[in-house]
Assembly symmetry: C2
Homo-oligomer: 354 residues x 2
């Protein structure tokens, strides 16, 4: 394999020394970029983009051609897994994801099995290989999956949800059934992420977008437990290098101590907790990724710079910080502001790594 020209991202995740703080943006390949909108419009629809390795590669690379980002992330969707399990994913225009066959009953759950990754999700691993080839060692490539709990919310609700009535109804009333669903998802995610790693993903991230909707007890039992199982089942070394794992529970900053015991190398942080406080709580155990409010990108380059400086100062000296937004970049952000953000991180962070 080609030698990595820029490995800051991987080094920071393992708390090894770096010259400047590495930075990438969740959803960096996305609608805020005109070139993304052009490719998507050429593709016709979003799923076509995900399922066509050439197009997924194209949009994955786009933000790297604009900004000096320190990592690429596979362009895909967390709902490829339920789709591969036969739920029939589709995107209704302006309405978000939907499933033709949501999971409603015990019988629906009994029918679910770990899909054949090569047969059902080969388009994802093909995209990973193709992106790696295209990157040619520029920066590392991140693979990812949704967490079991987060995938379960979509599978049971049949799409997005505001109050999680159905999935929480099942969790509270039929916990054994919920565990069966989460278990088959955890097994699938292990196989899926290992296939991404074997195809060339150099780090992987678990997105627990809806873990923050749970109580402490239920977060531990229905979300964190399965993420820990997954991490224990992953291939943690490839191409002679450690494959770091990042775990991110949005709205989960009250549970950082428990998350730090999961086996993850790094934890994602949304913007509601000062990263310096988070480092005090768990920074001796894991690296941290985050945590600027994505809405700061709606302001000016000067204001963005100020906020970057504040977060860098809050984290303080030394490695173990991957700069990122606390959630995906919003679609109406001016790409110039995203550029100012990336530039500010590199420029202002050097002093913390001397």
């Amino acid at each position: 394999m080609t030698k990595l020209k820029n490995d800051r991202f991987l080094r920071a995740l393992l708390k090894e020394s770096v010259d400047v703080t590495p930075v990438w943006m969740m959803r960096q390949a996305g609608r805020y970029l005109p070139e993304y909108r052009a490719t998507r419009s050429k593709a016709g629809d979003f799923l076509k983009l995900c399922k066509t390795p050439e197009l997924a590669t194209e949009v994955t690379i786009q933000p790297l051609d604009r900004f000096p980002l320190d990592a690429a992330i596979l362009f895909s969707d967390i709902l490829t897994i339920p789709d591969a399990m036969g739920l029939g994913l589709y995107f209704a225009e302006g309405e978000g994801p939907r499933f033709t066959n949501p999971v409603k009953t015990q019988a629906d759950i009994d029918k679910l099995a770990v899909p054949d990754i090569a047969a059902e999700l080969g388009y994802v691993t093909d995209a990973v290989s193709m992106i790696r080839k295209e990157l040619n060692g520029r920066v590392p490539l991140i693979g990812f999956s949704g967490s079991p709990w987060t995938l379960a919310t979509y599978m049971v609700e049949g799409g997005s949800s505001k109050d999680f009535a159905k999935v929480k109804g099942m969790l509270y009333e039929q916990p054994a059934q919920m565990h069966k669903l989460l278990d088959v998802l955890a097994q699938t995610i292990i196989a899926y992420l290992n296939a991404q790693i074997e195809a060339g993903a150099q780090a992987v991230m678990l997105f627990d977008t809806w873990g923050g909707a749970l109580t402490t007890r239920d977060y531990n039992e229905f979300s964190l437990r399965y993420m820990s199982q997954i991490i224990a089942g992953l291939k943690r070394e490839n191409e002679g290098r450690k494959v770091p794992v990042i775990m991110f529970t949005k709205g989960g900053c009250q549970w950082l101590e428990a998350q730090a015991e999961s086996g993850a190398d790094a934890l994602g942080l949304d913007w509601t907790l000062d990263i310096g406080l988070a480092r005090n709580r768990i920074g001796d155990k894991v690296a941290l990724q985050g945590n600027m409010d994505p809405c700061v990108l709606y302001s000016s380059p000067e204001r963005i710079r100020e906020e970057v400086a504040f977060i860098l100062e809050s984290y303080g000296k030394g490695s173990g910080h991957v700069f990122n937004l606390g959630h995906g970049i919003h679609q109406h952000v001016d790409p110039e502001n995203a550029g100012a953000f990336v530039e500010a991180v590199h420029e202002l962070s050097a002093q913390y790594h001397q």
Copy 2:
């Protein structure tokens, strides 16, 4: 004034001894009740309900006639204030609140003034007086307002928002302008809540529904600071009794220590933090209100009972706990389950007050 027959709620807020843990439900007068739907359908629309004291009184009392709740809460909406400021509140069917004249510019903010409460919001204080009369001492009546930050989000976005692009754009780019808006809102809320207290509200609650969308620094500067100002400006005694203040920032459990310094007598908790841990952190300073996940009401009476038992045990012995949901009751909940919840709190809590 008539003597209160049941003052558990007020006593618990002040950490005075009680026989059982008092309980009420946020949004207890609401769409899950068929009798509410009937009154609303008679009224025609939601705003008519709020603006007609007889109808507001009717729906405020409805849940008390069904369940042995320990408090009534004024039926109203947090957006009555911006409406009184001339923003023109309306509810588009199935779309949530909207304003005809959202706040977009510095000039829009300069035009805002503290409204004449009697002239513009007399329908609210009339409802308070009428409800007090109708309650005739059964239980205390809670008045309320949205927090300045929460009201500002609706005023600047023109309605509900997912990512707060406009209001956070203003906060980050024009902080002085944002402070001017929050300041006129804080002054208005002081006058509004004092008018509710003078009309008979025996406790008041500040709903900071969107404070949890802020960073720690911005929460302190743009939300908590104004809530503390409001609390300092309130009439804290009426009818020879203390008027307790409850402050609730949804998604704000990481900031409990700061909230406990606000002057509030009690803090609301959503369900993401164990109430026992919250009590350990700040229970010597303030009472706590919460914190069952409203989705537990989608399960069975047995499961609801189990969750109530878990929360009561977590809080432990002694006063200072007002049982509630961690957010408003959902509209598709079976009223029988709400009844099972209230009953379980009274029945299972007696042992903690011996």
